[in-house]
Symmetry: C2
Subunit: 461 residues, 2 copies
């Protein structure tokens, strides 16, 4: 592949040299063949001082494409440096969904300036999209789509595409609506090309259209697009009228963002929407401290349990050495189950109605794993701890206590691990929050209770 | 959204009733308006007995689209029931990349039968694609793309689309090649539609084409498609000749699969490629046991450390109560850093050359987090453990030992957590394997060493 990242430093050096020697025409020619996403990356890396200069070297249309790819703070800086005419030019070229994305990220003062310089129609459209909740399909749709009437002929359709197709984000998928904008059918530009000039749209369209509502969760809509291999999903309002489309590139961005959020939540972080190296230390600290604090304080319970059994422990101190292994194994077993279920939930493979099936599966898996782990641990305690290390305190009864605890802890951890995410989904919480750290904390306390129950019964402590 | 999942049970009941009363025409009409992915889901849920019957009700073209969406075991079952003519019909309708996917999943006996019934050209193409390594772009590309010559006019191009466009997976993106198949440019069907009939392709194409090589990693190619918002990526061979394209729907599938694998590896599971509920208990057990076993046995070290300090502990048993909190906090801190870095690596936001920047960031974040956690814990020990629970053993020095340990453990855990995935990437391992459970195990042992070092110095144990 054209591996851009590896040549980044060379390009940056070249840019710096050309800027220094004021060879602006050469600079422009350097950028021209590149993709907007790559130019944006170079501008970001070249730094805030050179960015406005470099940006102004780009031809107008390319400049806007690059602008869309920049991070929010760079966009803000550029806008603040724009003259009113420059700002208007950018706004005129933007696709509506990109304009909305930018407005959403800017501070109020910049938003006011943008809305002031936008055309009345653009202002109205931006305001309409901004009304949709942040996670809704409406918030990521574009209203610039191509609709046809059912009594048009194929050649009428081509005329319409030639007239307005240049301003639209996509013409690959076309929707057929009635005069009240209700969806009647869908067809691809290929269907048009393969049809006869005088065929009626009605006869070549597919009347079975899958659509989503403006208020549907944008992640569900993105997953549906992926499942059906669509290039766009039509979005209808409460009265089932077509109001916009979500395109596949936006769906991919949504899936990427939501996946990153899942990873962050599952690792006990608050989600952030900036790339790793662009998030400052304070911001990262704010995202990470809350859960660390909650989980640390909730470990008080495990401390209390250990205090409670202090005398029992003092009587048989060897038991203490196995506690990290027990809580680690319990935590890992629970994490496996919760991660598998959280991922299955986000891919729509399971839902709450499958709870019994899921628990039945995890129960069998955990028994299999528990028996194997207990057996392996039995061998290890006999061969390593007793024979190799010569620890006399590792009696057969101690061995039995540890191995029984492993079995019970693994079963408990897997059952809790698989059911908590399902429960969270049911009561409207994000299942990803019920992940590894949360479950480890529950399993830690429970495994101690199981351990000491066996120990006091079997060792008569 | 048309929420299919929620109506699944209703549909299944209806299907069963129609099958029982042999109302096959109605059954067929029930399926006709549905998307192939949904029909496939219904067929899977209806069970192996009814599947062949239901499948045969579908019109030929729809049937093949449904076939592609089925799980591998269902495809195998259907193929085993097909007559030779039926198999040939399916093979004739399949897109090449789907045919290759199917061949890759089938056991040898079925593959032999498929290759036997395929046309010589299809057999040759399948064999060619199968030669590419499993994770390469070549293995997921399709060779059915539309290429144009630079001296064609727009109307020549339309003629070519009308002639062969029906058999291609996509005509939205067209590639321009020279007689030796070297890539000269790219254009979209929209560019064609907006041009004049007698414009030359050469004049309207974009000569700056981003391409990937057959042996490039398929995940990198999928990420590039997403970054550039492409609908397809051209794939060239070692001599830079165009040999195929990767389409956006396949790229989305690759990203989804690789993300699921990352989740699985980060939760200490071996990756599996089947949906959660379709994986049997034995199969799940095989994927989960190895890492649980390795991590359990490596916890032997923490046990040995505890044994080593047994006498010190016996002298000040209250220290024991804080061990789970310390190892939990260390584990969670490390997991946050490793998860953030693993995700940033898979989104291409950082690479090994950023190691110093990453460590510098994590060092600052961990100092901030460590100080806050130590302070909160100090308050908690004073107010809860001493005053509320009246534990006399919690002296100011014990308090100091615990709080100092927290600070050092958090800093250590975050630095290890962020650097191990980068190191893994550098030496060619999968960074995702260096995740939570692995790092927790390292941090567990180290936090005990730090703890007992402070304890023996400050408490003179």
């Amino acid at each position: 592949m054209f591996d851009y990242e590896s040549k980044m430093d060379q390009y940056l050096e070249k840019i710096e040299e050309l800027v220094r020697s004021k060879r602006y025409a050469e600079l422009r020619d350097l950028f021209l063949p590149m993709e907007p996403a790559d130019i944006a990356l170079l501008l970001e890396e070249a730094g805030a001082e050179q960015m406005p200069l470099l940006y102004r070297l780009l031809p107008k249309e390319l400049a806007v494409e690059v602008f869309v790819e920049l991070e929010a703070d760079s966009q803000e800086m550029l806008i603040n440096g724009f003259s009113n005419t420059e700002l208007q030019e950018v706004l005129d070229e933007l696709y509506l969904d990109d304009a909305v994305d930018i407005v959403e990220e800017m501070p109020a003062s910049v938003v006011i300036r943008i809305l002031d310089k936008a055309t009345p129609e653009l202002r109205k459209s931006i305001n309409e999209i901004l009304k949709y909740p942040e996670d809704s399909a409406g918030s990521i749709m574009t209203v610039e789509y191509l609709s046809l009437k059912k009594d048009m002929t194929v050649s009428d359709a081509f005329k319409r595409i030639r007239r307005i197709g240049g301003e639209l984000e996509t013409i690959n998928i076309l929707y057929v609506t009635d005069p009240t904008r209700h969806l009647l059918g869908v067809l691809s530009v290929r269907d048009l090309l393969l049809a006869e000039e005088d065929d009626l749209i009605e006869d070549i369209m597919d009347p079975n259209v899958i659509w989503a509502r403006t208020l549907d969760d944008k992640e569900d809509v993105a997953q549906a697009l992926s499942k059906y291999d669509f290039l766009a999903m039509p979005i209808v309002d409460m009265e089932q009228r077509l109001v916009g489309i979500v395109t596949v590139d936006d769906a991919m961005d949504v899936i990427e963002e939501e996946t990153t959020e899942d990873f962050e939540k599952m690792a006990a972080m608050l989600p952030s929407d900036k790339p790793y190296l662009r998030t400052g230390a304070w911001e990262t600290w704010r995202a990470r401290l809350p859960w660390l604090m909650i989980l640390m304080l909730s470990a008080t319970f495990t401390g209390m349990i250990l205090n409670h059994y202090e005398n029992a422990l003092a009587g048989c101190l060897v038991l203490n050495a196995y506690i990290p292994m027990l809580s680690g194994t319990g935590g890992n077993s629970g994490t496996q189950a919760s991660t598998a279920v959280i991922r299955a939930l986000s891919l729509d493979e399971v839902d709450f109605s499958d709870t019994l099936k899921v628990i039945w599966k995890e129960l069998r898996v955990s028994l299999l794993c528990g028996v194997c782990l207990a057996a392996a641990n039995f061998l290890k305690m006999q061969l390593v701890d007793r024979v190799l290390l010569g620890n006399e305190a590792v009696t057969p009864i101690v061995c039995l206590v540890v191995c029984l605890t492993i079995l019970f802890v693994v079963v408990f951890a897997k059952c809790v691990g698989c059911s908590l995410p399902l429960l969270a989904e049911k009561i409207g919480l994000d299942p990803a929050v019920m992940a590894s750290p949360f479950i480890s904390t529950i399993v830690d306390a429970t495994s101690l209770l199981i351990y000491f129950t066996f120990a006091s019964r079997l060792l008569h402590l």
